[in-house]
């Protein structure tokens, strides 16, 4: 008798390996390999543990850092945060980590950074893991073939106490991007394009697997950018099967295995791909050639269009709710339907965030601005995603390129991605941003956010308006 194994998806494999219990009629209990903690969504969870007299079950599977609240201006400002509520929140995490025995990368630590940047950078993030964090962009870590998703504070407390989470099983959705990406088109454009296609709730209830030759050809940085914004399409998690690119990125990282253990680990990780013939609940094919440099024009990440296009005209067939939404977005953004995207003038450029604050993003932007200067009256800033990214960029002289061009060179953190620290847009201020959310007020009350790739942000900084990067004249290093 021959036994045939049902082909399984990557998600299915990781899911099954972490099932602690499957109680009848209830969500399954899923084991969590890595819990990342930051200052904003954890204080109430630690309080909950204390109130119930519960312990942190696995300090060795827990890591903490500060990112959302920290000023990016100077070390002195970071050590002595003027905003007292921010300061108290950072102090609370510092104290909680000491009390519960959690490794904590504090503001002055060389390992500090945006939580989704340092996980991979330190090799804490590994293929096949389950990873959670009280932050919706935890999906970033799925770029390594892990199942990574954001959770609320009650769930943070639950993981702290039990190292598990009750979870209903998500459906699976494979998005295939086939072919070669046109020059000037980046991972950011891929993901903005996908969200434009499926809508901001298009993947609600699904775990997305990104596949196809265009994805395979991406660096880990690019893959992280894509998985990062899964949540903007409604998916709680995005995954990409690990391959040689993944292993090359991980080898030699601080917490990666070494020697024989490395080889054994790679052997296990190599199993992590969707089997031939595995069934997905939904599939979508997109041709890489159809993707252009993309710019968001509205107040939701699904409101995007190509740089050569215009702000869309109202759709007469849309439902009343959608039509109202459209009008509200245009009004908030101060835009008129039909305006060419390249005619939109900006005031500010923000380069950074867990979407595009990695070394490769900074390199790409630096290449664009080399030999140029930011346009008059433009405020431009670079906020590296982590201390390690900052140090690496400085060792390559990127900081000098940015500073010479008129950019502010900052300390690492979330910064203007959500403007919880002093980096904030004024009402009406228009920003080309490499971050992930263009919601009303996201970067400051009344602020107008346009999501773009680092290259497009850099070009806009120089010209003062959105500019097609495909026709950019790059200047050589002297």
């Amino acid at each position: 008798m021959t036994t045939t194994h049902t082909p399984r998806t990557l998600f299915e494999k990781v899911w099954q390996q972490h099932l602690v219990a499957e109680p009848e009629g209830e969500p399954s209990l899923l084991y969590i390999d890595l819990h990342l903690v930051h200052e904003v969504t954890s204080p109430q969870a630690f309080d909950g543990l204390r109130l119930a007299g519960r312990k942190l079950r696995r300090p060795d599977r827990t890591v903490a850092t500060v990112d959302h609240n920290v000023p990016t201006t100077s070390i002195a400002d970071r050590l002595n945060i003027v905003d007292q509520t921010s300061s108290r929140q950072v102090a609370a995490l510092r104290n909680n980590c000491a009390e519960f025995g959690i490794e904590f990368f504090d503001v002055q630590s060389p390992q500090q950074g945006i939580v989704h940047i340092i996980g991979p950078e330190l090799g804490l993030t590994k293929p096949g893991m389950t990873i959670v964090c009280g932050d919706s962009h935890t999906s970033t870590h799925g770029a390594f073939g892990s199942l990574a998703f954001g959770i609320g504070t009650s769930e943070v407390e639950h993981v702290m106490a039990t190292q598990t989470l009750p979870q209903g099983k998500a459906k699976t959705f494979r998005i295939n991007i086939e072919g070669e990406l046109p020059a000037g088109v980046t991972a950011k454009d891929i993901v903005l394009h996908i969200i434009g296609e499926i809508g901001t709730a298009g993947a609600t209830g699904y775990v997305v697997e990104y596949a196809g030759s265009a994805i395979r050809a991406l660096s880990m940085e690019g893959r992280m950018t894509i998985c990062n914004m899964s949540i903007e399409g409604g998916a709680r998690a995005g995954m990409i099967a690990p391959d040689a690119t993944t292993f090359a990125y991980l080898q030699g990282r601080k917490f990666s295995p070494t020697g024989a253990a490395w080889d054994e680990a790679v052997a296990h990780w190599s199993e992590l791909k969707s089997d031939e013939g595995a069934k997905f609940d939904r599939e979508l094919n997109i041709a890489a050639a159809d993707i252009t440099p993309t710019v968001s024009w509205g107040t939701s990440p699904g409101m995007v269009t190509g740089v050569k296009s215009t702000v869309p005209l109202p759709d007469p067939t849309a439902s009343e709710a959608d039509r109202k939404n459209f009008e509200r977005a245009l009004e908030y953004m101060g835009l008129e339907a039909g305006t060419p995207i390249e005619d939109i003038k900006i005031d500010t450029v923000f380069l950074g965030s867990c979407t595009n604050g990695r070394i490769e993003d900074l390199r790409a932007a630096a290449q664009v601005i080399r030999g140029y200067h930011v346009a008059t009256n433009i405020r431009a800033m670079v906020v590296p995603g982590s201390q390690a990214v900052k140090a690496q960029a400085e060792s390559e002289g990127l900081d000098e390129i940015f500073k010479t061009a008129g950019f502010d060179w900052r300390e690492p953190g979330c910064s203007m991605c959500l403007a919880m620290n002093p980096d904030i847009l004024q009402p009406g201020e228009r920003c080309a941003s490499t971050s992930n959310r263009n919601f009303e007020g996201r970067q400051g009350r009344g602020g107008r956010t346009h999501l773009v790739s680092p290259q497009m942000a850099a070009a806009a900084a120089v010209t003062g308006h959105f500019t097609d990067i495909r026709t950019w004249k790059f200047k050589e290093a002297k």
């Binding site: 390996q17 972490h18 602690v20 219990a21 009629g25 209830e26 209990l29 084991y31 904003v40 969504t41 204080p43 109430q44 309080d47 119930a52 519960r54 060795d60 599977r61 905003d83 509520t85 929140q89 090799g123 804490l124 590994k126 096949g128 893991m129 009280g134 932050d135 919706s136 954001g150 959770i151 609320g152 504070t153 009650s154 407390e157 639950h158 190292q163 009750p166 901001t200 709730a201 609600t204 949540i231 409604g234 709680r236 990282r253 917490f255 990666s256 295995p257 253990a261 990780w269 939701s300 709710a321 939404n325 959500l418 919880m420 919601f439 009303e440 007020g441 996201r442 009350r445 009344g446």
Partner: protein, 212 residues
């Protein structure tokens, strides 16, 4: 956690789709380390005049500032309610303000689970039904809606009636006000067994490199 079975209340109609958690509770209030007191910051920016000499004053045209809706326990909203950031503060702000039920055509995943953990009942209804109820509550602020969790029924004082779907386990937890950690600890033995096996998979451990 409060356990709800049946509730009758007037409803606030908020006819906007994709209401994200940044709108429900803006970031400046996420710096607090407490779990309570978020109600006064609910929809903070929408409740205030944004520009001009009166910036910062209450915007009386915003429905939540309309005294005729004071005390409502039901919120009716557009599709994809609660999208965006994972902040549970959104659920805390809604419940602290007094909302125990949200009716919408659809909800975002993380918000959906956060709301459940805070005892909120999220009622998913077809878009046309949501529009009808929105219309009625807009026309008549005294319009009353009743939600019965046991029978999974929504009705109003003008003859509307429909059932809504809810995961049976979620319903059981809501009706009984159950605490998740307590529920999980029923599996403590299975967890110990699983964990001792799983620990051997060093390639799934965060720290397999240098022991620093």
């Amino acid at each position: 956690m409060i356990a709800i079975d049946q509730l009758t209340s007037i409803a606030v109609p908020l006819d906007i789709s994709n209401i994200d958690t940044d709108q429900i509770i803006p970031k400046q209030f996420l710096k607090r380390i407490e779990r309570t007191g978020y109600g006064e910051f609910l929809f903070y920016d929408w409740r205030r005049i944004q520009e001009g000499p009166q910036a910062g004053e209450p915007d009386t045209s915003f429905v939540l500032n309309d005294p005729r809706y004071a005390g409502a326990k039901v919120l009716i909203a557009g599709k994809n309610f609660g999208c965006g950031s994972s902040r549970e503060h959104a659920a805390w702000a809604l419940t602290d303000f007094g909302f125990l039920v949200v009716i919408a055509p659809s909800f975002a995943d993380i918000f959906f689970s956060n709301a459940g953990k805070n005892g909120m009942v999220l009622v998913r209804l077809p878009e046309a039904d949501v529009e009808l109820l929105t219309h009625r509550s807009t026309q008549n602020p005294a319009h009353k809606i009743t939600i019965n969790l046991t029978t999974q029924c929504v009705s109003d004082d003008q003859g509307y009636e429909a059932t809504f779907a809810i995961d049976p386990f979620r319903k059981y937890c809501l009706l009984n006000g159950l605490d998740d950690i307590g529920l999980t600890l029923r599996h403590a033995a299975a967890l110990d067994t699983f964990e001792s096996q799983h620990n051997k998979a060093f390639w799934l451990q965060p720290r397999t490199g240098s022991v620093s």
